[in-house]
């Protein structure tokens, strides 16, 4: 019974289904928000909304080096990892999309393999390696594995974007006297910008949200990232759990992600390639 217009009942059914999905997705976030505004004593209070609103949790974490330094680490490590991943991935993806070279399918297979590998199985060997190399508890101790796990993702996303760009544009650039590097940076890369931004967002999100590597390869706030640092928050006394500050910190580290996605969403759908060829 595929009809173009929905009956009142169908409409109602869809609305209910949509509502269920939205509620399921948003309840934990709202709950987190609510917790972050509760006083330490009211955390166990069964009411959903705080009886007494307080900004104390935010004030506490935003003045504490225990959170601010890890936040800085998160931003720094995330940005550096993203930058390296996107630069390397775009070069690799370009080669995969354009050239046929021996070992190409092996390379693609390896990239996929790395992406599939369960991270938890790698933590122990990587920990030993990092200890030996002196990378443990440093920014690069996290950046290197983040880049390694960000690359397969980047290569796959970007090579799909590069394949979409007409090869004739590159030939035209060559005829116009561009070196291969100029053709890439002046013609191909600007057109693949939406793809690069998409890749950057995905890689950054992966770094930003990582907990497993961050908790394993760091030991002090000099390199600990925000998600890991939240584990080490302390309550007002030995007997209070720091639920409020953790909720506040979770809200704080969620905000950049929301801004990030909202800001770049428009660029992703801009569809820069329109008008390149006939149409």
């Amino acid at each position: 019974m595929a009809t173009a217009t929905l009956t009142g009942r169908q409409r109602g059914g869809w609305a209910a289904a949509n509502l269920v999905v939205i509620v399921l997705a948003l309840i934990p976030v709202v709950w987190l928000l609510s917790l972050s505004f509760k006083t330490p004593g009211a955390v166990t209070d069964p009411s959903f909304w705080p009886a007494h609103w307080t900004g104390g949790n935010y004030g506490g974490i935003l003045t504490s080096a225990q959170f601010l330094r890890p936040l800085l680490n998160s931003i720094g490590i995330g940005l550096i990892s993203t930058f390296i991943s996107v630069v390397l991935a775009s070069m690799a993806a370009y080669a995969i999309a354009r050239l046929s070279f021996p070992g190409k399918s092996v390379l693609i297979g390896l990239a996929l393999l790395i992406a599939m590998f369960p991270l938890i199985a790698l933590v122990t060997p990587l920990f030993t390696i990092e200890r030996t190399l002196g990378l443990f508890n440093t920014w690069f101790g996290l950046i290197i594995p983040y880049v390694a796990f960000g690359l397969p993702l980047g290569i796959y996303t970007l090579s799909a974007f590069f394949r979409e760009i007409p090869w004739e544009l590159e030939k035209a650039a060559k005829m116009d006297g561009a070196t291969p590097f100029q053709a890439f940076t002046l013609v191909i890369a600007p057109l693949a910008a939406p793809g690069m931004v998409t890749t950057a967002i995905l890689v950054f999100l992966a770094c930003w949200n990582d907990f497993l590597l961050a908790i394993s390869f760091t030991s002090t706030i000099s390199s600990r990232t925000a998600p890991a640092a939240m584990e080490y928050f302390s309550g007002g006394s030995v007997f209070t759990t720091p639920t409020g500050p953790i909720a506040a910190a979770a809200v704080v580290i969620t905000i950049p992600i929301i801004i990030f996605v909202l800001f770049f969403q428009r660029r992703i759908v801009a569809g820069l390639t329109s008008g390149a060829v006939k149409g």
């Binding site: 007409p166 004739e168 544009l169 030939k171 035209a172 650039a173 060559k174 005829m175 116009d176 006297g177 561009a178 070196t179 100029q182 002046l186 013609v187 600007p190 057109l191 820069l272 390639t273 329109s274 008008g275 390149a276 060829v277 006939k278």
Partner: protein, 411 residues
């Protein structure tokens, strides 16, 4: 501006397939040369080799007297117009046209001046600051031309630059391309699969088939003195009619009637050892309504009666279609390829249908019997085995009637 020489150019792909086989062509300074042929004949590969976008397997390519086989496109000083135009979508028209000069580190004011001059020639001045996405197909095509013109290169290479335009615009742009080339006097190599474009634009036309150069000549030479079946069938619209024929004594017997043979043709046919079976080619315009043929011309050809299947009047001319000699089909690899290219194998058109172009004054009606005349002096005789034109010597030496070259209807 420079002459281009292709000396025994061959292109073999790593998988062993031969795309271009021993291609020789001398292109004079300022000449407009067309490479034409059905798809897959190697014309675009040849152009890409001249451009430097594909390696040359063997042979030498000279531009302006210097061997450029191993030079990058950048160092060959040539500009190319692509079929898809390949405009940079993120740059304005002005930036697109000035891109090559910017890369060459030409001062900004010089670039601006050159871009504006080219824009004036191409009537693009008011569009200079727009992006390609906001231009029509014809405007994009002109920007692509402009990008080539701005550089003032030694040669223009054009790869089917008009094939993405609709029929009407294509005819207009064709004239414009021709005008621009004359004005600039730049050596131009132009690839197309459209023989009408080839005949109207080129100083000389090179016909290719399966990687082999078939014939190079002026449009008139190709039309009136085709070297072989393929060229004869490819050039001309509507295409030349081919009929089986056999030599019977001093005459050429076909399903239309017996054509008298001139001594030159007979000697040539006998000398070729081709046997008695030949393929006879007659262009549509070499037929006429018998009633309209002046008495003094009648003896030159033959008259025959036939039922007219279809009649199409386009005002200036009348095209009639009739079928003959279904039982003795012509078979030749070249004809098969032509049929595949023209799409007649797809449409299921009868290969034995003969097309004739008659004077508009004809009273012949569709479905009725009519008496037609075929000009015996204009027929071509081909060897079915090799495809060679056996009547060529006679044609070149004898009085070739200067038939006016007209375009067929655009179908």
């Amino acid at each position: 501006m420079a002459p281009i020489t292709l000396d025994h150019i061959t292109k073999r792909y790593p998988d062993g397939s031969l795309a271009v086989n021993d291609f020789n062509l001398q292109i004079q300074d300022g000449e407009f040369v067309i490479l034409v042929g059905p798809s897959g004949c190697g014309k675009s590969t040849t152009l890409n080799m001249i451009a430097g976008l594909e390696d040359i397997t063997s042979g030498e390519l000279l531009i302006g007297g210097a061997v450029v086989n191993n030079k990058t496109p950048k160092d060959r000083d040539i500009a190319m117009v692509f079929q898809s135009y390949a405009l940079y979508p993120h740059m304005s028209v002005r930036e697109n046209m000035g891109f090559a000069l910017k890369l060459a580190k030409v001062p900004k004011d010089v670039i601006n001046q050159k871009v504006e001059e080219a824009a004036r020639i191409l009537d693009l001045t008011q569009h200079l600051d727009r992006k390609p996405a906001n231009l029509s197909g014809g405007q994009r095509q002109r920007v692509a031309m402009g990008r080539a013109i701005v550089r003032d290169p030694a040669a223009f290479l054009m790869d089917e630059p008009l094939s993405n335009l609709d029929a009407k615009l294509r005819v207009q742009m064709r004239t414009q391309v021709s005008r621009i080339q004359r004005r600039l006097g730049t050596t131009t190599v132009y690839v197309t699969h459209d023989q009408v474009e080839a005949l109207t634009l080129g100083d000389r036309v090179a016909v290719m088939r399966s990687g082999l150069l078939q014939q190079v000549g002026t449009p008139g030479e190709l039309y009136h003195q085709p070297y072989n079946l393929f060229v004869a069938g490819f050039i001309g619209s509507p295409a030349m009619n081919f009929l089986p024929g056999s030599l019977e004594g001093g005459a050429l017997r076909t399903s239309l009637g017996d054509f008298p043979l001139t001594d030159e043709v007979r000697r040539e046919v006998e000398g070729a050892n081709a046997g008695r079976d030949v393929i006879v080619g007659i262009r549509p315009e070499d037929f006429e309504d018998a009633a309209l043929v002046p008495a003094e011309n009648r003896a030159r050809g033959i008259t025959f009666k036939t039922a007219i299947d279809v009649l199409e009047s386009i005002g200036s001319d009348v095209f009639v279609y009739f079928s003959r000699g279904r039982d003795t089909g012509v078979s030749s690899a070249e004809l098969d390829e032509l049929a595949a290219d023209s799409g007649s194998t797809d449409t299921g058109a009868d290969a034995e249908t003969v097309t004739a172009r008659l004077d508009a004054a004809t009273r012949i009606r569709e479905g009725a019997d009519a008496e037609l005349w075929a000009d015996g002096a204009a027929i071509h005789v081909f060897d079915p085995a090799t495809g060679r034109n056996l009547s060529l010597a006679a044609k070149a030496g004898g009085p070739v009637p200067p038939a006016p070259q007209q375009e067929g209807p655009i179908t």
